[in-house]
Symmetry: C2
Subunit: 379 residues, 2 copies
Amino acid sequence: MKKYLLSPGPTPVPEEILQIMSEPMVHHRTPAFKAMVGQAIEGLKYVFQTENDVLIFSASGTGAMEGAVSNVLNKGEKAIIIRNGKFAERWGEIAEKYGIESLYVDLPWGTVGQPATLDNLLKENPDVKAVYTQLTETSTGVVMPVKELGEIVSKTDALLVIDAISGLGGQEFYMDDWNVDICVAGSQKGLMLPPGHAYAAISEKAWTKIEKCTQPNYYFDWKLYRKKLATNTDPFTGSVLHIKGLLKAIEIIKEDGIQTRFNRYRNLATACRAAIKALGLEMFAETPCDVVTAVKVPKTVDGLALVKKMRDEYGFTIAGGQAGVKGKIFRIAHMGYIERFDIIAVISVLEMVLHDLGWKFEWGAGLSAAQKILAEEYK
Amino acid sequence: MKKYLLSPGPTPVPEEILQIMSEPMVHHRTPAFKAMVGQAIEGLKYVFQTENDVLIFSASGTGAMEGAVSNVLNKGEKAIIIRNGKFAERWGEIAEKYGIESLYVDLPWGTVGQPATLDNLLKENPDVKAVYTQLTETSTGVVMPVKELGEIVSKTDALLVIDAISGLGGQEFYMDDWNVDICVAGSQKGLMLPPGHAYAAISEKAWTKIEKCTQPNYYFDWKLYRKKLATNTDPFTGSVLHIKGLLKAIEIIKEDGIQTRFNRYRNLATACRAAIKALGLEMFAETPCDVVTAVKVPKTVDGLALVKKMRDEYGFTIAGGQAGVKGKIFRIAHMGYIERFDIIAVISVLEMVLHDLGWKFEWGAGLSAAQKILAEEYK
């Protein structure tokens, strides 16, 4: 049975990248390899839309999230954490480990809240050092109003820290224009690579704060990585394969142009949403993002069975709900190397599985709705 | 020009592993993938020669080293660190970051000291919680007397923590029989994989101490990884590629048998040493290990030029000296997927480059000396 991967990470890796990753091993301290690292960093700046420093870590994205706390805030310092999903909660868990005094903005999963809430909270707490949130929250499929948050935070001394692990390269985002101070990302989503690489882009405003931070860390010591930027070296033995794959991924992204890719994923998301509506289903996210569509499972349908049947009987790996929404939502990714006809295919199998599970709708209704939108020009 | 990689990490990756790593991406939360993780952990236990828990991290080996401090010792607790090379010094750097009170046994690089020194130090400091050293110190090519150190430390309440990053799978080592409490390793040496995976094997005695540790950590929170062992899952999105490659590597190692592999690398090391002697050169290590041969550069030869010429003019990547011994030594690896005829080839090119740089010897003297030993049975 042919296999399709439409989960929000890991995502499919283009064949030409897989091929590069199977080339013979090279040494990580040669001039040729250092040149590749330098080129990869320049390419990442384009993807982040920033002039800031970009650091590369051999780790899962969570490693970069941890660094964005442990390098930034001292014990007892205050942070605001907007908590509206699994990865938002992760910011909180990390902050607790490091003894940060967190002010939580707790919101129901699937919602995003009002920027004004943050504005007021910052006014009431001028000693807040950083605000943590997501670009897109993978667990709920929302996009956060990062531009608006950036306008608010940039007027204060606090830093705006964005987890763009699932959003980078897919969801519209301009780090510098939107006044984001720290942005972290991972390899296995919009960048079309296997898991194993994490990234952090860091503004000068953030570096000033980082210089004053004394929390213990070694493998994720950002000051050490920054020193090594001058020679394009990893302080440790980094993932050679990921650097080589990353260069190819950046080449693909640049060939399209980042704006074209933003438009493409918006088109895929719009098509998905139209199909969901046409099948009589409801979206879970208040403000749905462009990289993953989270859908409410109707009360009469078994949500766990839906995801399992798609995988085991039809070969499609999508994602179910995590934690509190387990069995209550399913999620279809449209990020990285997922394109139009993958969406057509996943809607087709969704119709088949919904039918198997007793949901009533007109055969092809989802497909027709998606088709109309996917046929539109998105460039 | 054909390229040869004989550096002590990264090391060459067997073609069949590279091929597996270029297979289409799979999801990390499927039953099939979890079964692979479980199998990989069982295989690692064989390589470590242990019944203890083994944890897998997507990181460079240094990430596992950091975890072996941050999960084990609280601020202000005492550790003994045997400091006789670059990676030994890394234990010290990490310990300093975490506020550990380190008692250093400082030794000249290339030497290993006396086990009795440790015995006395432990008797004088019964409050020492852990002893940190290497199995093989990559920067100097020594093998540490781990078995003897294990006999000493196991009689106390302290833990013996071994960095086997370059040694595991090549240098003779039996974690349980030798009373080692924590052993860390990496993917890119004896395990024949690309860099990106780190491992830690942890005894029950160590877990008891770890349970009482309160240092901040998240990505390297060993207690969290231990909980996930029950379901064979990574707490985060781990490197899918490395798990798949690791299974193949373990298959290769098991097919040989670990003892056969220990014997093989000993044979390669003995051959290298014989060649070095026949060429009139001297070993750097007091007790040379079986996975990397460190050689003193004669005063009349330019050590930096030697390494550079081998790489740029002949296609052979070996390693020079690091930090204090830069330009003063060179290092040839014989670990992982480096076998007999790679050693013959590197001795051949070493003769050519030594000749280019004005060193006097009889053509083929190194080759003949190595050949005699490599022709011996090592099984």
